[in-house]
């Protein structure tokens, strides 16, 4: 009897299927700066959402006889020129900063991406017209462009978001245009063409998702720019009209008392700095993970 050699199969090790998303998250989590940035952004969002709970006082309530009081137990950052609580105003100012930062980038992102993708995909006269228009818009510095649009639209939160979104359009359009030019030559796009898919479907299903990664990275970085631009416009009096608290407006109002009560300008300045810093850290982290050309 011959023994049949038994064939013992080595136990198969479970193949680790790591999704692309998870890989990206792991890479992001390994980047300490990015994690710090993300935690800060989450914290800032929480402050904005829970502002009514966190703010110790109503940010609009004046107490003029107690104006320009320094920090105290009840008013940790003191009171402004109208006797309003500086800390509460900073907390509520977070809402405006985030609303403007996020919505203007979303709005500008959608419009700019659409322009860039259409121009890149169709080429010819469409490209010439749309991209020259974008070039004209790019020629204006953001602040000047924001200022022009605000001067035409007038003050108000919605108009401020629109104005800043307008400054974001050419940036997104340029990136989307370049990416589309590359993608439209790729095989999978040509295959879609050959299969008779409609142009809209190709743009929506094949082009847009493939340029989304880079745009998301840039969007996070440009959110910081949008917040800075909002503060700049508010500083020069073209932002959300008073008495709504905005950091730029608080910095400006505080400059009058810079030598006697620097906290009035410094405190909202630090809030602005931290927010911009946080979004930049997150943006850098996302770029490292999502942008293959970043070299990391």
């Amino acid at each position: 009897m011959t023994a049949t050699p038994s064939v013992t199969m080595a136990p198969t090790a479970p193949i680790a299927v790591i999704s692309e998303r998870r890989r990206a998250w792991r890479a992001f989590a390994r980047n300490r700066s990015a994690v710090v940035g993300l935690m800060l952004v989450i914290l800032i969002i929480l402050v904005a959402v829970f502002a009514p709970v966190l703010a110790p006082h109503n940010p609009l309530t004046q107490s003029v006889p107690n104006r320009l009081e320094g920090p105290s137990r009840d008013y940790l950052l003191g009171r402004d020129a109208y006797g309003r609580d500086v800390l509460s105003r900073i907390i509520y100012g977070t809402r405006i900063a985030l609303q403007v930062g996020i919505f203007s980038v979303l709005l500008g992102g959608f419009a700019g991406t659409a322009i860039g993708v259409v121009a890149g995909y169709f080429g010819g006269k469409t490209e010439a017209v749309l991209m020259r228009l974008v070039d004209v818009l790019l020629a204006f510095p953001d602040l000047i462009m924001g200022l022009l649009v605000m001067a035409v639209l007038g003050p108000g939160l919605g108009k401020l978001i629109l104005a800043i979104a307008f400054t974001m359009i050419p940036r997104f359009a340029r990136i989307a245009y370049g990416q589309t030019l590359v993608l439209k030559e790729r095989e999978f796009v040509e295959a879609s063409h050959a299969l008779g898919q409609r142009t809209g479907v190709i743009l929506y299903r094949h082009i847009a998702p493939n340029i989304a990664g880079e745009l998301v990275v840039l969007a996070s970085l440009w959110t910081a720019s949008a917040i800075r631009l909002e503060a700049s416009l508010s500083f020069i009096g073209l932002g959300v009209p008073p008495p709504t608290p905005t950091w730029g407006q608080m910095i400006r109002e505080g400059t009058v008392y810079l030598s006697s009560l620097p906290l009035l300008s410094l405190a909202p300045g630090v809030a602005l700095l931290l927010t911009v810093f946080a979004f930049n850290l997150v943006g850098d982290g996302l770029r490292d993970v999502l942008d293959p050309r970043s070299g990391k």
């Binding site: 004046q62 104006r67 009209p241 008073p242």
Partner: protein, 533 residues
């Protein structure tokens, strides 16, 4: 070798001579003149007009005051005294047989009109004075025409002008109209006619201690010394008025030594801080500018007296007063400011007349509901970039929010605000102004002759005219007080406070006079002002 050296020396000499010759082409006014140039920063971003009869902003009044003279003048630094200026003496009234009254001004003969880009310098005569006064009395060419309604200006000879007043006036009403303020400034006829109204608004030509030299929009106006000035050549070589709306920029300019005098922040804490630091001197002086509310009785919402009463009851005078604090500000209890000119109400008098309204939000809300505005309404109000206006409006905004009135504030340049409120943009206008008499306040702001400055549209034409014609000083004051009560009873206006002037200077600036009260709302620069070493 010697020959070569001689040639080099000759060559260098020629270069030096050439440089000496062309040097003045590149020199500034101060470089040609040993006298210092005073650099003054005003709190507005730009000028509006240099026509003295139209100038209403402090930045314009400052320039105008140095270029023009009046027949009379407020004593430099003390507005309580009126003395002769282009006139040789202060006139006395003469009752005429036809019931009118006349005042005769004898003119000095050594006053000279400055040269302009279109005219040479020439001696000022009665023709210029009559032309100027007629222009002041014409509402097409003057913002203060109402002050001279019915007045007749007659040239007696080259050096004498007679003013005929339809109804007799007391000196307290008459004399300030001919002093160096508003319509009292005398312009030069030939220059005005040669330059035209628009040209004159950019190139003011008068007889004052300083001559207009240049204006750079949104930057500065330069004046140079008028060495032919009838009181003698100024000690300063000139004055540069810079337009710097930002308070911090002005402060920094002063600290760096670039500026000599700045319009300071009208706040007690600011004054205290500057004077404690000791590097510069903050002066607080009169005249106090009244701050009051004008409620447009023709406005869609405010035409209802209940709404106007609610607005006044929503306002806390103490809040508005606290923005500046004492001694910079004091409360006033009528439109004519208490403690500044006769004819105002004291707090006791206002209380006795039951028009000393205190903040009562509950009652104000009841009135709003009674008027059918329980849910409130919205208003857009225009305010100036100047802190003095903007802060008052911001406090008002919060006060009105408590009775459901949602105020959107539109911040514009100071000159633009003046234009827009005159065009009727504001249902509620906060106005800040000094006027030299109760009659001027009431005429300009509460009669139809006030025209575009009758912000409330509440008109007391006959009553103001009657009070003006009252020759008994006590009875006249009583009449003015009664008009103040009427304004308050109709909720057409509400006095808040008056603010004194705050200017900060380098310690080496010598104004040449004491600072008690200056109606032109700046320290007052003339031939005696100087900067010491």
């Amino acid at each position: 070798m010697t020959h070569r050296r001689t040639r080099t020396i000759s060559f260098l000499s020629v270069i030096l001579l050439a440089l000496t010759a062309i040097g003045p082409l590149f020199g500034s006014v101060s470089a040609q003149d040993d006298r210092p140039v005073l650099v003054h920063a005003t709190n507005s971003g730009d000028k509006a007009t240099f026509d003295p009869h139209l100038a209403s902003g402090t930045q314009d009044r400052t320039v105008v005051d140095m270029v023009f003279n009046g027949l009379l003048r407020f004593k430099p630094g003390d507005a309580s005294v009126i003395e002769a200026d282009l006139a040789t003496e202060v006139p006395e009234p003469v009752a005429e047989a036809d019931g009118t009254q006349s005042w005769t001004f004898a003119l000095r003969t050594d006053a000279t009109c400055h040269a302009s880009s279109a005219t040479e310098a020439y001696p000022l005569t009665a023709d210029d004075v009559v032309f100027s006064l007629q222009k002041s009395a014409n509402s097409d060419t003057s913002g203060v025409a109402g002050d001279y309604a019915g007045f007749e200006f007659v040239k007696v000879d080259d050096a004498t002008v007679k003013v005929v007043v339809p109804t007799p006036l007391g000196p307290a009403v008459f004399l300030p109209k001919f002093a160096n303020y508003g319509g009292g400034y005398i312009i030069c006829q030939q220059a005005y006619e040669a330059l035209g109204a628009d040209g004159f608004a950019n190139e003011p030509i008068g007889t004052g201690p300083f001559k207009f030299s240049s204006y750079t929009p949104q930057t500065s106006t330069t004046l140079v010394a008028n060495d032919d000035y009838f009181r003698g050549a100024p000690k300063l070589g000139g004055v540069e008025v810079r337009y710097i709306a930002d308070n911090t920029a002005r402060d920094l300019g002063l600290e760096s030594g670039e500026l000599d005098v700045i319009n300071g922040l009208p706040e007690a804490q600011y004054v205290e801080r500057i004077n404690q630091a000791g590097n510069q001197i903050a002066d607080v002086f009169g005249v106090g500018e009244a701050v009051w509310l004008n409620l447009d009785i023709t406005n869609e919402y405010l035409q209802d007296p209940l709404v106007r009463e609610a607005i006044i009851l929503a306002v806390s005078r103490e809040n508005h007063l606290a923005l500046a604090g004492e001694p910079v500000a004091q409360g006033i209890f009528s439109i004519v400011p208490t403690g500044i000119v006769p004819g105002a109400l004291t707090q006791e008098e206002a209380q006795a007349a039951e028009v000393d309204f205190s903040q009562d939000i509950e009652r104000a809300n009841e009135l709003m509901a009674e008027a059918g505005y329980a849910d409130g309404f919205s208003l857009t109000l225009v305010t100036s970039e100047q802190a003095a206006y903007q802060t008052q409006y911001t406090v008002l905004q919060e006060e009105l929010a408590q009775i459901g009135i949602d105020v959107e504030l539109e911040v514009v340049q100071h000159a633009v605000m003046h234009e827009q409120i005159r065009a009727g943009s504001n249902a509620i206008t906060i106005y800040i102004a000094y006027r030299p008499s109760a009659d001027t306040y009431l005429t300009q702001f509460f009669t139809s002759t006030g025209g575009s400055t009758n912000f409330s549209q509440f008109q007391l034409d006959d009553q103001v005219a009657a009070a003006r014609a009252e020759t008994d000083a006590e009875a006249q004051i009583e009449a003015w007080q009664q008009l103040n009560i009427e304004i308050l009873q109709n909720f057409a206006g509400f006095g808040l406070l008056y603010t004194n002037q705050v200017y900060v200077r380098q310690p080496n600036v010598d104004y040449g006079h004491e600072l008690i009260s200056v109606p032109q709302l700046y320290p007052g620069y003339n031939e005696t002002t100087t900067i010491t070493e």
